[in-house]
Amino acid sequence: MPKARHKYLLDFERPLAELEEKLEEMRRLGSGAEDLADQVADLAARVEELRGSIYQNLTRWQRVQIARHPLRPYTLDYIDALTTGFFELRGDRLFADDPAIVSGFATFRGSVSGYINRTVLVVGHQKGRNTKERQYRRFGMPNPEGYRKAGRLMRLASRYGKPILCLLDTPGAYPGMEAESRGQAEAIAHNLLVMSRLRVPIIVVIIGEGASGGALGIGQGDRMLMLENAWYSVIAPESCSSILWRSWDFKEEAARALRLTATDLQEVGIIDTIIPEPVGGAHRDPRATMTAVRDAVGAAMKEVSALDIDTLLRERQRRFDAVGIFTEDTS
């Protein structure tokens, strides 16, 4: 592993990286030497064993860390890889544009036969890669303008009969004074209302973080797909820790309690498809990740596009109505 990547290592990955480094060095020193070959093979086996034990037993908090990895692919990376001719459309026509959400029409380059080259509207949260960009994108935390822009374009897509692909990656809607003054809650609520009746298929993919109403505001539809290491919940683990434990120190416990991983959510019927990631996370092999997402999105698009619109809306409503676990004693 190159040294430069060390600064991006997550704490639980360090022991593995150290062992990998040692292995590399031994390989470099001992190329040809008979007696070293056994040791190299031995170490290589230990590396694989450790890799397996780390990545096959990721805790929920570790997955949250992977979902937030600074090298993880973001919405624009997916747009680059999965579509051509992306035409970005900006502004809510009321107040401003919000770079924390990007949206536009593009040709989806599918791999599933019967769904190869189709115009879609892509809507996604966008984070930044460096300090300047992060501030510009407000860490992927939208203001009301972002939701209103998304709502405007989704209605447009519905008018044009173009399916919608939503890519979720946000730590939450921005909790600021201006956001409140301009109606953050109303902006999100209005999108929920609109999206439930849009007369085109909506495919949602949680690619990184899916926190709270901030994610939901551009993220409900006919199929919910989720990357293996993404997380999705009603609140971020840190905030949950702060509210319920009255301390920021219980984020790991909160992550566990919230059951925010893809498998957790598939168990309660919220997620339809888990998209596998390369070992170590999407950033370790972005190309493989993109291919997996393309296949899964294409399959989902093909499936829902086969339905006539009224059936699609009825099934959407049924999905929305079905979520919830409670008892009802009618004896």
Binding site: P175, S181, A185, L193, Q220, S233, L260, V323
Partner: protein, 282 residues
């Protein structure tokens, strides 16, 4: 407080009468420190007679206040939370639920009922902050959604009285998706052209504001109610400065265009009936 005439499949027909509270119970106004006895407060609908501060008013009281002669039929009283995640923080969610039920006598943070409001048939859901902060989990979402569907099915006016800290964290993503469940049913109601009046009371924040509470055809708020998406503490921590007085108050929301009218609780029934008479003119 209520006499129940029959109970069948979660339906209660009740006639609520003013209870005779012993005058000896004293309550201090949190704003002006005026001390009133409970009988006086009951008469003023728990609005401080000195400073007009609106003290907490529970779901059952709102139902009695809004329905004509305090007569209504309650629905879905048998729904109960199930602790789907076996959630534990400093306390187990299962225990929180038990304690909340014992303390409040409620099964959920919302009550739903049908009856007449100013003679207009209405479906009303009223939330109750005293039950785990009025938070919305699977049960609240389901009861609200059914109250909306009931309005659609029987062509009723919908009134929802909100009072909530937001989505119920202890049900994780399941509670988040109650925003979807409630709003999608509202969309159906709106397509049918049925009126929906949202009454926002103190406090209405988080997922409830970001779903049905902000989506009234007409949004009415009680004076001084805290209404917002993010809580003030979160905003303060994010921006690192104190918030101006009145920020996120009902009056602030009205100034910014998100609330149609601010109505004193003592005028609420009269105002709603006035509005419904105008809208539902035959």
């Amino acid at each position: 407080m209520a006499w129940f005439n029959r109970k069948k499949k979660g339906i209660l027909t009740a006639r609520h009468e003013r209870i005779d509270v012993p005058a000896g119970h004293w309550v201090k106004c949190p704003r002006c420190a005026q001390v009133s006895n409970r009988r006086e407060l009951d008469q003023s609908l728990w609005v401080c007679t000195k400073c007009e501060h609106h003290l907490r008013f529970g779901a059952e009281r709102y139902l009695s206040l809004l329905f004509d002669e305090a007569r209504f039929t309650q629905h879905d009283t048998d729904l109960r939370s199930k602790d789907p995640l076996t959630f534990t923080d400093r306390k187990a969610y299962a225990k929180r639920l038990r304690v909340a039920s014992q303390k409040t006598g409620l099964n959920a943070a919302v009550l739903a009922a049908t009856g007449k409001v100013g003679g207009h048939p209405a479906s009303v859901a009223a939330m109750d902050f005293s039950f785990i902060g009025g938070s919305m989990g699977s049960v609240v979402g389901e009861i609200v959604a059914r109250a909306i569907r009931r309005a659609v099915e029987h062509q009723l006016t919908l009134i929802i009285v909100s009072q909530s800290g937001g989505a119920r964290m202890m049900e994780g993503a399941l509670s988040l998706l109650q925003l979807t469940k409630t709003t999608s049913n509202l969309a159906l109601l709106k397509e049918r052209g049925l009126p929906y009046i949202s009454v926002l009371t103190h406090p209405t924040t988080g997922g409830v504001t970001a779903s049905f509470a902000m989506l009234g055809d007409i949004n009415i708020a009680e004076p001084g109610a805290l209404i917002g998406f993010a809580g003030p503490r979160v905003i303060r921590e994010t921006i690192g400065q104190d918030l101006p007085t009145g920020f996120q108050s009902a009056e602030f929301l009205q100034d910014h265009g998100f609330v149609d009218a601010i109505v004193d609780r003592r005028q609420l029934k009269r105002s709603l009936v006035h509005l419904l008479d105008l809208i539902l003119e035959p």
